[in-house]
């Protein structure tokens, strides 16, 4: 890899592993996960419950410590422990996250505008007038105005809250934005608005997106590459259009066949699912 490639690679993940122990049993949530993300790129992490996709997201932002492997953001390793204000701010600047339920990530007692203002202040924007202007700009970028800026999270609709959470994450100007099922709880008409917003943000900012989702159609819309996880192991990692038009791994084929459509045949899907069950777990790529 040349120096230039290094500069353009935002995120590099090598051999990531995380296991959880309950009593004597050990469950490997993520096993030997590797991928890289270039500036302006978008990677979809696709899987069902128990696939390890949320554990991956949590390791990327430092909420879980990997048992093995390394995460490099712009060539710098993500420190396993964060002590002190400077290290915390640097971590926040590397990777930000938007969760499925913005109720749990926005402070319910202060307005959306104040939340964003606080993030800007923490990251060194001292001048209040400049913060106000930047807050307005960030909210405008996600399609929110003065009225929403002055509102508490509970006064906003689900879609507006999720936009506010995205604006808060962008306020930090992170290198990488992780979205963990960030559009899954939205009504389809509102989900489409947020999906268009994400594609605008990609076009305008050059931020790297890690888009964790169970929904293949949504991943196709947002991402250029997708990685299919099953019980912690990578089944397939390819350009998303190729993955969907010509899925190589039987598990990817099953996922794709499971998406409802007019010629849908749930009987054959459940048959294939049973045949595949144990095989897919061992057949990791």
């Amino acid at each position: 890899m040349t120096v230039d490639d290094h500069a353009r690679t935002l995120l590099q993940v090598c051999g990531l592993r995380k296991a959880y122990r309950t009593g004597k049993t050990e469950v490997v949530a993520v096993d030997d996960l590797s991928f890289s993300l270039r500036a302006g790129g978008a990677l979809g992490i696709v899987g069902e419950s128990g696939s390890g996709k949320t554990t991956t997201a949590r390791m990327l932002i430092g909420l879980e410590r990997p048992d093995a492997g390394q995460i490099l953001v712009q060539g710098e390793p993500l420190a396993p422990t964060v002590r002190g204000r400077a290290a915390r701010l640097a971590r926040a600047k590397a990777v930000q996250i938007v969760f499925q339920d913005p109720y749990l990530s926005l402070d319910g007692r202060i307005t959306v505008g104040a939340t964003i203002d606080g993030a800007l202040r923490l990251h060194g924007l001292a001048d209040p007038a400049a913060r106000t202007a930047r807050t307005r700009e960030l909210l405008a970028q996600v399609g929110l105005g003065e009225r929403e800026a002055a509102a508490l999270p509970r006064k906003l609709s689900g879609g507006q809250r999720q936009r506010a959470a995205i604006a808060r994450a962008l306020a930090v100007e992170p290198a990488v934005l992780v979205l963990d099922e960030a559009v899954s709880a939205l009504d389809v008409s509102v989900q489409a608005q947020v999906l268009n917003l994400l594609s605008d943000i990609r076009r305008d900012t050059g931020i790297g997106l890690v888009f964790v989702s169970h929904d293949l159609a949504v991943v196709r819309y947002v991402c250029d590459e997708a990685l299919v996880l099953y019980r912690g192991r990578t089944m397939e990692h390819r350009p998303v259009a190729e993955l969907l038009s010509d899925p190589g791994h039987p598990y990817t084929q099953l996922l794709l066949a499971s998406v409802p459509r007019p010629d849908w045949d749930p009987d054959s899907i459940s048959r294939r699912r049973r045949e595949l069950g144990p095989a897919a777990a061992g057949g990791g790529a």
Binding site: E48, S49, S157, G158, G159, Q160, D187, V188, S189, V190, Q191, A192, Q193, L195, N196, S199, H214, L216, A217, V218, R220, Y221, A241, L244, S245, L254, L255, L256, A257, S258, V259, P260, R261, P262, W264, P266, D267, I269, S270, R273
Partner: protein, 333 residues
């Protein structure tokens, strides 16, 4: 006679700006699979619950709901019990919310048979084993002795389907039965529901926010917005040529799974967000979000469902908006 019939059903709650349901007309015949599609707050769950006489507390109810000819609105406890324990059963989104976590699966499944039908424990257990087999659980005898926490969400939803079948109903009300499940588990549950529906010639009303799922399994689809049914048509027609701008908007908002190579075409979302119970609009409640809305026309109450081909549409502009106008903005799949 239809198995399930709503006639001009309206439900109003005190302290809200608009009715929860506003003149619902809907029918499900025996052996028919019908979907009711809508976004959050559209009233689809309230509609389904009404079939069992489960009206919101303090609600003012107008109109009729008939299950197999029996009127539900204003029905006494005996009539409601007969419907709930005999004719109709309901399956909910979250199986864990509907089962007692400290009782065994077997107790849960046999309670109704032993209490309502007076069956012996042995006979009720045999029936429960048979039903668990019918929903495809691998080891029915063992499952009877298990507790809910020992089963996965998909397995527990199968237990709930078995429970819904204990009384041998003719009508199955499914309220987002697969929304909490993984996609491949969803396929499995829908396969089981489909098989049982065909074998037993059940009428089925599927409540879902997922118009693709509705299209995949249903004969006919009703689309609901802000307490009103805005369009109903046979599935193929609704998908191929949506008449109501809201239906077209829903289809245009769903990203297609398979699309031509290259960057995907931009979605055409419906602007704004679904209407809450505290919002009201004079005239058509969708007008504020509608790209085709015309001032002076759409601020009047929309017409009742009117026939346009094999579709029924409640829109002032249904005649002038051709199907092509709508499909040009929506993509479908």
């Amino acid at each position: 006679m239809a198995l399930l019939e709503y006639e001009n059903l309206s439900i109003a709650l005190p302290g809200t700006a608009r009715p929860v349901l506003d003149g619902i007309d809907l029918t499900v015949s025996a052996g028919e699979v019908v979907a009711l599609v809508g976004e959050s707050g559209s009233g689809k769950s309230v509609t389904a619950r009404s079939a069992l006489g489960l009206f919101p507390t303090g609600a003012h109810v107008d109109g009729h709901v008939r299950v197999d000819g029996t009127e539900v609105v204003g029905a006494g406890p005996a009539a409601l019990r007969a419907i709930r324990t005999g004719t109709a059963s309901m399956i909910f989104q979250d199986p864990r919310a509907g089962i007692n976590p400290v009782r065994r699966i077997g107790d849960f499944l046999t309670e109704a048979l032993r209490v309502s039908n007076g069956w012996s424990k042995g006979r009720a257990d045999d029936r429960a084993v048979e039903l668990l087999g019918a929903v495809g659980l691998p080891d029915p005898e063992r499952h009877l002795r298990q507790y809910p926490y020992e089963l996965s969400g998909g397995m527990l939803q199968r237990v709930m389907i078995a429970a819904a079948l204990t009384a041998g109903p003719r009508l199955l009300l499914c309220d987002e039965p697969t929304t909490a499940l993984d996609v491949s588990t969803q396929a499995e549950i829908m396969a089981i529901l489909g098989r049982l529906q065909r074998e037993r010639d059940l009428g089925m009303l599927l409540i879902t926010h997922d118009i693709e799922l509705a299209a995949a399994v249903c004969d006919r689809i009703y689309v609901m917005y802000a307490g009103r049914i805005v369009e109903t048509a046979p599935t193929a027609q609704l998908f191929g040529a949506p008449r109501h701008p809201y239906t077209a908007g829903l289809l245009g908002s769903s990203p297609p799974l398979r699309a031509p190579a290259g960057p995907p075409a931009r979605l055409t979302p419906i602007p704004g967000s679904p209407m809450g119970l505290l919002d009201s609009a004079p005239g058509c409640s969708f007008a504020a979000r509608c790209r085709s809305a015309r001032p002076g026309v759409c601020d009047r109450t929309p017409p009742p469902l009117e026939g346009h081909g094999t579709a029924l549409v409640a829109c002032h502009l249904a005649e002038s908006l051709t199907a092509t106008d709508n499909t040009a903005t929506g993509e479908g799949t």
